[in-house]
């Protein structure tokens, strides 16, 4: 969590230095992403992520160097060979993918992945992540409807940070919550404090067990804060009040977790500082390494358009 935060901050610095063309931050979303992943089994489960899944990528074992290769568009970017925006493509070791920047396309795809598992008799679960903005798309409705009909092993994990870039929740939906919509699809919808790692782990665990048992999907809505603007190209002071920004900063999940652990006597101030220092050192090392790496060759842009072997099954 701390490493994800430090690397995330570094990427924004690299953007301001003109080295990272674009970044979307997970700062404020880390607890929700990490705790959700923790309840899954990366050896067999599937993950369809979206552009703000920085911490989820880290939780699934992506090394800082691998993350930076995406942000700096270097040749060894493991997700897409630097063809796509950072975090887009497919993960080299776990079944995680993120084809596009178009919002909510991953939800029907997740239903399809889960359908395939059901047909194969696998007990793998598909976890699909999306934001509150994506909840407005027709694909979201279509995916949940289909998943409900077929009781597919899929978890719809919504990270609700209350803003679709600048558009606040009250202009996105006429209901109180995204989770309340689950009733329309015939499966449970639960709200959880996305800054509370324990609570997110618990609800995800219940959803995972339900899915593995063949009882169908769950919609989880984790309330989180987007601590930074939408992306490096956004300025949220244009649409968020200063009161809103101050309140939001009080819900920083890393501070909340550190304070909890300190109250319980499980973390000391010096221990906390040491964790941050180690993370920073790791980030410095990764930055130096990747900064010196080459960009992909022009020739490689012609690879993998279609099956060059013309290969058939």
């Amino acid at each position: 969590m701390v490493l994800s935060r430090h690397l995330d901050e570094r990427v924004w610095l690299l953007n301001r230095q003109g080295k990272a063309a674009i970044a979307a931050s997970a700062q404020g979303h880390e607890a929700a992403q990490l705790a959700c992943i923790e309840a899954t089994d990366p050896s067999k489960d599937h993950y369809l992520i979206y552009y703000r899944q920085f911490a989820a990528m880290m939780a699934l074992g992506t090394e800082p160097e691998e993350m930076l290769r995406g942000f700096l568009a270097k040749t060894d970017d493991p997700m897409s060979g630097a063809r796509q925006f950072p975090l887009h493509g497919a993960h080299p070791r776990v079944d995680l993918f993120n084809f596009s920047n178009v919002i909510a396309t991953q939800l029907p795809q997740a239903a399809g992945v889960a359908l395939a598992d059901k047909l194969k008799g696998s007990d793998a679960v598909t976890v699909v992540f999306f934001g509150d903005g994506a909840s407005s798309q027709g694909d979201t409705h279509e995916a949940m409807n289909f998943a409900g009909i077929h009781k597919l092993p899929v978890i719809f994990f919504c990270e609700n940070n209350r803003y679709a870039i600048s558009v606040p929740l009250e202009k996105q939906m006429g209901v109180e919550s995204v989770a309340s919509r689950a009733v329309g699809y015939g499966f449970p919808g639960v709200q959880v404090d996305g800054t509370d790692v324990g609570a997110v782990y618990e609800v995800t665990n219940v959803a995972i067990e339900r899915a593995r048992a063949g009882d169908g999907p769950t919609l989880i809505e984790a309330s989180v804060e987007r601590l930074l603007p939408h992306t490096t190209d956004d300025d949220h002071t244009r649409y968020r009040s200063s009161e809103d920004i101050v309140q939001m900063l009080n819900r920083d999940p890393i501070r909340i977790l550190a304070e909890l652990l300190k109250r319980r006597g499980q973390l000391t101030d010096s221990g906390d500082e040491e964790i941050h220092a180690l993370a920073k050192k790791r980030v410095n090392l990764a930055t130096d390494t990747v900064d010196a790496e080459p960009y992909p060759s022009v020739e490689s842009m012609f690879d993998h358009v279609i099956d060059s072997s013309g290969g058939h099954s």
Binding site: S100, G112, V113, A114, G138, F146, H304, D307, H312, S313
Partner: protein, 327 residues
């Protein structure tokens, strides 16, 4: 060898591929008990069950998005779009997503999926049951687009499409479904994507066509033969990638090209074919590259008289042949 209609060839091929490979599944609107509105999947649910023949809700985007997700997780889905006119809600999942799976993941993921799309007019379908939608797909790198016109080609190309490790848009002209019959071998065979075929050899000019227009072109070529004009007819069969060499070879030999299509001419397959001929056959041409298509109005009126006026026909093609041959 069995004589089959186009729709019978499609159905038999789906059945054969489902028997051959248990990862092949069918999904779409009314594909189950109803057997599809054109009966392309008639009886398949009885043989393969509702796990592999899936009646979906009426939602085209998710039909294609679900097919895509299942494809990247080991299935070979055949998604049916009931009418081409209804494919627009799914464009994002096909043009935006499926086409870029291999490229956008640097080859880590692939999407072996076939999307069957009944298209085309001349069936009293009006504005929303007559459309030709091939151009947008044919414009998209990462997709293959095939448009067979005969039962033989439908079988061979559909088998190839299903077995291909990338997304294929499989266009079936509705008017040919029961109109066109032909001998189809019972044995397994495939036809490669990207290969056109000369359906009728000739020496005076080349007609380039696909789908229903192929048959109208062949009829017109017969009529022209009675007038002493020898017309070669080239069936494109695949619209992406176009068989450039076959086009160039035929037109270079005959010296004249007439491209016939049912789709709106502006920025279309015929535009691309004309560009290829212009670039590669310039010094062999004995006349202007000629195109015949419908007027530039929304396809196509429901009224029978207006529909007939809209559609290219053997007579209209014959007139174009005669004019071009006289140059």
């Amino acid at each position: 060898m069995t004589e089959r209609t186009v729709i019978e060839a499609v159905r038999a091929t789906i059945q054969a591929e489902m028997r051959r490979d248990s990862s092949v599944i069918v999904l779409g609107e009314d594909v189950g008990i109803r057997g599809g509105v054109f009966l392309a999947t008639d009886g398949l649910i009885d043989e393969f069950g509702e796990d592999r023949v899936i009646d979906t809700p009426l939602a085209e985007s998710s039909i294609c998005g679900i097919a895509l997700g299942a494809a990247v997780n080991g299935m070979r889905p055949i998604a049916e779009i009931q009418f081409a006119d209804f494919v627009w809600p799914a464009i994002n999942q096909l043009v935006g997503e499926a086409s870029k799976v291999r490229y956008g993941t640097n080859g880590v993921k692939t999407a072996p999926m076939t999307v069957r799309v009944p298209y085309g007019g001349g069936v009293r379908g009006g504005l929303y049951h007559s459309q030709s939608i091939e151009v947008l797909f044919a414009h998209t790198p990462g997709l293959s687009v095939v448009a067979p016109a005969t039962p033989f080609d439908a079988k061979g190309l559909l088998a190839t499409a299903i077995r291909t490790n990338d997304p294929v848009i499989f266009l079936e002209h509705k008017r040919t479904y029961r109109l066109v019959k032909g001998d189809v071998p019972d044995a397994d065979y495939t036809i490669p994507i990207g290969k056109a075929e000369i359906k009728r050899p000739g020496t005076d000019l080349t007609i380039i066509a696909y789908g229903l227009m192929l048959h109208y072109a062949l009829q017109a070529a017969d009529m022209a033969a009675a007038n002493g004009i020898s017309v070669e007819v080239l069936d494109l069969r695949t619209l992406r990638p176009l068989d450039e060499d076959a086009i160039v070879e035929s037109v270079s030999r005959t010296g004249k090209a007439l491209i016939v299509q049912e789709d709106t001419l502006s920025v279309s397959i015929s535009s691309e074919v004309a560009a290829i001929i212009g670039e590669r056959c310039f010094f062999d041409l004995d006349g202007p590259i000629t195109r015949l298509g419908p007027p530039e109005i929304p396809p196509m009126p429901f009224s029978p008289i207006q529909e007939a006026a809209f559609m290219p026909s053997p007579d209209k093609i014959l007139a174009a042949i005669t004019k071009l041959a006289e140059i």
